[in-house]
Symmetry: C2
Subunit: 339 residues, 2 copies
């Protein structure tokens, strides 16, 4: 093998700067325009038409990047492809309505598998009140499913930009299970069925997202797809704030605790949770506590927004704990922080 050229001697690649490095440069050039209430860079865009507001988002699952053949059945893969999009609509408090599907499929892919995959997409759409209205089918080396989803927007807009110093940080459900399930599937090791299910068929917090936005309780929100700390980092960067996270407060399932004990590392960085992370001003904390039943899931306080920059993880003994990595970047695999 030929030694790679030093970085300075060749052109910078997307692998060098990563997804978020590229987006940080691109996004400021894209914002704004007629009928656009929220442009690129949030979980969904918010657009206006005929006196109504809509959410618009796109996400993709790619073989070899997000999954390997055999990790999920074609039906599960179809469902998950839709649900990761629905999760972005949940993070803006909306309702999924219409989607179009781009399927890129190797020629040797079985028709029966493609039918099952398609059925999974349709089933997940139907479950969330949405419909598949169009699509495109193309040949490709890797199986990949890109779905663009249009949703009804709530009256209030909550983005990643509303977190302020002193706001509490909340997370729905439990985190870390999907990453635990993913590692088991990847390594061929046993895992609790609940963890496998969370990896294969994400829970989407549509009801919680809607209440948190419509009630006025959430000041900023994001869905946790790339890892809690990394996604909290997006909220902090966009809001111009920092955060302190109490590791002990991060909600974890019994299955997670059996596997990792008190170690919250994977829950903080693992990704694919599709839970919601939101910030809540002090004055709304009581209202949130008394309305938990309306969310359709648990919600836990995991920390506080701070005036400074950066995220501090505080462990059970009150020590600030460094993390080697914060989450997932498709282009930068090295240095993931695993227990």
């Amino acid at each position: 093998m030929v030694a790679p050229m030093p970085r300075s001697a060749r052109s910078t690649t997307i692998g060098d700067v990563g997804e978020f490095g590229f987006l940080a440069k691109l996004l400021p050039r894209l914002r704004g325009g007629s009928g656009i209430l929220v442009g690129p860079g949030q979980d969904c865009a918010v657009i206006r038409g005929g006196g109504r507001r809509y959410l618009f988002t796109v996400d993709a699952l790619v073989e070899g990047v997000h999954f390997l053949r055999g990790w999920l059945s074609p039906y599960q893969l179809g469902r998950k492809s839709f649900l990761v999009n629905a999760s972005d609509v949940a993070a803006m408090g909306g309702r999924p309505r219409f989607c179009v599907v781009n399927l890129a499929v190797p020629p040797a892919y079985r028709v029966s598998d493609l039918s099952a995959l398609q059925a999974g997409i349709v089933a997940a759409a139907t479950e969330t009140g949405a419909a598949v209205v169009g699509g495109n089918l193309t040949s490709a080396q890797q199986l990949s499913i890109a779905i663009a989803l249009l949703g009804d927007a709530p009256k209030r807009i909550v983005t990643r930009q509303g977190a302020r110093s002193g706001h509490r940080i909340y997370v729905t459900g439990t985190v870390g299970d999907a990453a635990l399930g993913c590692r088991a599937v990847r390594d061929g090791t046993p895992a609790p069925p609940s963890a496998l299910r969370r990896f294969r068929q994400p829970t989407v917090r549509l009801q919680a997202g809607r209440w948190l936005v419509e009630s006025g309780v959430a000041s900023a929100m994001i869905d946790i797809s790339d890892g809690l700390v990394q996604d909290l980092g997006h909220v902090c960067a966009e809001s111009g704030v920092g955060a302190e996270v109490y590791a002990a407060g991060v909600p974890r399932s019994a299955a997670y605790r059996r596997a990792y004990g008190a170690d919250a590392t994977l829950a903080l960085t693992g990704g694919e949770d599709y839970e919601l992370l939101c910030t809540v001003p002090e004055r709304h904390v009581k209202r949130l506590a008394s309305n938990q039943a309306r969310l359709g899931c648990a919600i836990a306080c995991i920390g506080e927004v701070t005036a400074g920059r950066g995220i501090r993880i505080v462990d059970e003994e009150g020590r600030v704990r460094p993390l080697r990595a914060t989450g997932y970047d498709h282009f930068r695999r090295e240095g993931r922080d695993e227990p």
Copy 2:
């Protein structure tokens, strides 16, 4: 090498049945639903929200399938990725408004190329009155760009289903140039700049599409992406009719005639024209003729819808001419009909 299993002994693949074979089975199961005026299987879906109608479509360009690196500059590729979607909106008489972009990019792809590609998408969107409101960036082996486009729908809905026996068949602009340009780029042979331009930067017939729909002149319409005969075949199949096409009437550029003389084969089957093909009832033919200036491009009568099934190509001498292939299917490359 091991001999391939006979087809009967293994599972049927998407390569066996092709894109259109699969879609023919899938689509009847998807149509219908609340707020859906036109479901999957047309150039765009038509959806309703807040008293307005919108068009919704998705299309993708994939490296190694639709293009090879070097065939187009990243900027041209970005523009084309948007324009192939805008062409679907043109075929339904709409106006492009908002799009979301899914970029799948190999890690070694240069940041400067990705920026140029993105700039091309934004430029083409802006030219047609649309805006990029969101996107997703993922790693992949092949470069691929999937764009989902939302447009304003016209008051009247024209699909592929309105062709009736006796209606005339019309095509905008000229066909065959893009295929001529594509072959030159592929084979490294010289080609007229106009043909290269048509391949690299398709002309989108938004003005023509809008007039043909809003005037009530077009009874059915489609954009020619996979080859004139194949796309006419979709109109015929969906309308339950046949067609007779007069090869001599198929509009070809001077550059095409210099390359292929009177042979219309590539113009009939080549694909990537992004012209509009529509059918026009006899009673509207005069109105179309007297309003040609409103289309922003030429339009030519190429044949007639017939009561039977199938498409007959009639040559200059009035002989029915067989075609080995009718156009392009991503999964079935063999048997293309080339001059």
